[in-house]
């Protein structure tokens, strides 16, 4: 089973809020999970569940009005939340790489692709500009960009969406990071291009022996890519398990509902299962179980108390009162 030494990145009891007009509204509440070496961990949930902000907090890229009131983010045992800014700069980009959903808004339109990739290399290693550019070309080859010698001299607008996302991945991988954080990396892409990019991420992970934190709303992508899945709802982790348990034996009513509401290619159903209502805004988070108002099985207890994350089997845990802890299993 898991032991401490294989945990590469660990988030412990993270509580994060935004300061709005003098008041702090928490959007992330006691979120904990970890990523082991060589693992692809999926962070799943719908808009507003806090998945993106969790990943930004790992990179210390939070907006100014964000307040972390509790918790630790441990990278190789070191708490990133207590590190000085210059230490973070050494880690960000070198040890932890990140790719975003929309490559066009994350690439600088007035610099060439070559300039942008070599900038990171120059920042983190002692090489000449010429060497950095050669390394940039190597990185573009790594992500299967055709004629990389030409592409390094091009600007972002000259590339297609799929190519831009490849450039983003090349940039994120420029210094061989140990963890790649990918925030909805294929959401803006067409399906056939998405298949190419997912294939590339998986292949790179195997070749560079890195780990991936994949943030997505698409359960199909999760099943395709991930080893381990963390499901979030309204700022809480509601369920976590290995990918097979999540899809074959989901236990939290939200995970169950989400899986049943997907239209799939393989079956013909007359009506789709729906989850009534919508995701609440952070200032309206219910005081008990946050899913209770939308849950068909909610009891008085669910409405008034926050259920704990209960262990089901091995690492499989869910935050629901309907689950009674089995003895001797965890």
């Amino acid at each position: 089973m898991e032991n401490e030494s294989t945990k590469l990145l660990e988030i412990r009891d993270l509580v994060l809020g935004f300061n709005i007009e003098g008041e702090t509204v928490n959007v992330i509440d006691n979120v904990s999970f970890s990523i082991n070496e060589g693992q692809i961990v999926g962070l799943v949930g719908e808009s507003g569940c806090g998945k993106s902000i969790t990943s930004l907090s790992v990179m210390r890229l939070l907006p100014r009005n964000a307040v972390i009131s509790k918790g630790e983010i441990l990278y190789q045992g070191k708490n990133l939340l207590e590190s000085a800014e210059d230490e973070i700069i050494k880690i960000r980009g070198k040890e932890l790489g990140m790719i975003f959903q929309e490559p066009m808004t994350s690439l600088n339109p007035v610099y060439t692709i070559g300039d942008q990739i070599s900038e990171i290399i120059l920042l983190h290693s002692q090489v000449s500009k010429k060497e950095a550019l050669d390394m940039a070309i190597e990185k573009l080859k790594l992500v299967s960009i055709p004629s990389p010698e030409k592409v390094v001299r091009q600007y972002p607008h000259e590339l297609s969406g799929g190519m831009r996302q490849r450039v983003m991945i090349a940039m994120a991988m420029a210094c061989d990071p140990k963890v790649l954080i990918a925030d909805e990396p294929t959401t803006a892409l067409d399906v056939t291009i998405q298949a190419q990019i997912l294939d590339l991420i998986r292949d790179l992970k195997d070749r560079t022996k890195s780990s991936v934190l994949l943030i997505t709303h698409d359960l199909g992508v999760v099943a395709e890519m991930c080893d381990y899945v963390v499901v979030m709802y309204a700022g809480h982790v509601v369920e976590e398990a290995d990918v097979f348990s999540i899809f074959e034996n989901p236990r939290h009513p939200y995970t169950i509902g989400l899986l049943r509401s997907l239209p799939t290619l393989n079956e013909d159903r007359e009506r789709l299962h729906t989850i009534d209502g919508t995701v609440p805004a952070p200032k309206d988070f219910p005081k008990g179980c946050r899913f209770a108002p939308r849950c068909g099985k909610a009891t008085e207890q669910c409405l008034n108390e926050v259920p704990p994350l209960t262990s089901i089997n091995g690492t499989h845990r869910a935050r629901c009162f309907s689950i009674t802890e089995k003895v001797g299993d965890a």
Partner: protein, 323 residues
């Protein structure tokens, strides 16, 4: 089945600025010679990736875009040549629902005003009747009557799409063209809206043209599906037939590229190489030839015609026609 609309050789070309010294005029061929029939009460799914021309097709049908060539026959009339008064009348019967309802609702109009406006502007009812109808519509699409006086920004994405639907229903249309109506929504809300589409069709007998890039959503709703690639229909047939027996290599790749929510079915995908070419400069011969994994010599030379294989139409040289 009764044919309700016929699209014949529809083309929509957008002229591009040509270079200063170039005499050659360039066109972006968004929709390039497509034909299909629409039957009463069915849902025709139009699928394709960006640049396939699916949205342009939808907009051309309502003449929100003027087609370059071709005919759209509806009620024995050619929509492409209608005068503005006739066009106005036609649009009562064909309504559109857009992807982003927020962008298509006037932020300064309450949602009640937005829904009642088309009814009054077409002079179909008295103000009191229209009011009554609007309230019924709000309830029918699952919104509270009291929302009449609220503004679009006060609603969530799913609720806004319900408003967009109520507005499209206001004139009792026959055909509804829905352009990516659920792609901006979260999964749990998407399911609610898809069910609403299905219920409304059962209740009022609408004919839908459902445009989407997501095959699983289209599969769920459609009777027939047309797959588009670079402005052309490459395959069109019954939904079940398309998924059980896809014939075009592009359709096969598209179906296999969709990640399925089943971790035991990883891999075995057909991964297409390269990007979708620009519709300004499509490859010679078959437009899919530069990415096709089965391509033969003929594919880069000759543009394939539509073939009929037992009611299943496909545009590919490698598919043998039924004798």
């Amino acid at each position: 089945m009764e044919k309700i609309m016929e699209v014949k050789n529809l083309k929509k070309y957008f002229p591009l600025k040509s270079g200063l010294f170039s005499s050659q005029k360039l066109y972006l061929r968004a929709v390039d010679n497509i034909s299909f029939d629409l039957y009463k009460g069915e849902t025709l799914g139009l699928v394709g990736e960006s640049g396939s021309g699916k949205s342009t097709t939808g907009r051309s049908i309502l003449r929100l875009l003027e087609p370059t060539a071709g005919e759209i026959i509806y009620k024995n009339k050619n929509i492409t040549t209608l005068k503005s008064s006739e066009l106005r009348n036609m649009r009562k019967n064909i309504q559109m629902i857009f992807q982003d309802p927020y962008a298509s609702l006037n932020p300064r109009m309450t949602i009640g005003e937005a829904i009642i406006e088309p009814i009054l502007s077409h002079g179909l009812m008295t103000k009191d009747e229209a009011m009554e109808k609007t309230l019924t519509l709000l309830e029918r699409v699952g919104l509270n009557k009291e929302y009449f006086n609220r503004y679009p920004h006060q609603f969530s994405g799913g609720q806004r799409q319900r408003i967009g639907i109520a507005r499209a229903l206001a004139l009792n249309p026959e055909i509804i063209v829905a352009d990516e109506p659920v792609s901006a929504l979260d999964v749990s809300v998407q399911a609610q809206i898809i069910n609403l589409f299905k219920d409304l069709q059962d209740e009022f007998g609408f004919t839908y043209i459902f445009i989407a890039h997501d095959l699983s959503v289209v599969k769920y709703l459609s009777t027939r599906i047309a797959v588009m690639y670079l402005g052309e229909i490459v395959e069109i047939c019954d939904k079940k037939e398309l998924f059980d027996n896809p014939l075009h290599p592009y359709t096969k790749a598209l179906i296999s590229a969709i990640p399925t929510p089943d971790p035991r079915k990883k891999g075995n995908r057909i991964i297409l190489e390269g990007d979708i070419p620009s519709p300004v400069n499509p490859p010679a011969g078959c437009k899919f030839s530069n990415r096709c994994y089965l391509k033969k010599d003929i594919c880069t030379k000759l543009h394939p015609d539509m073939k009929d294989v037992g009611g299943h139409q496909v545009r590919c040289h490698l598919v043998k026609e039924e004798l």
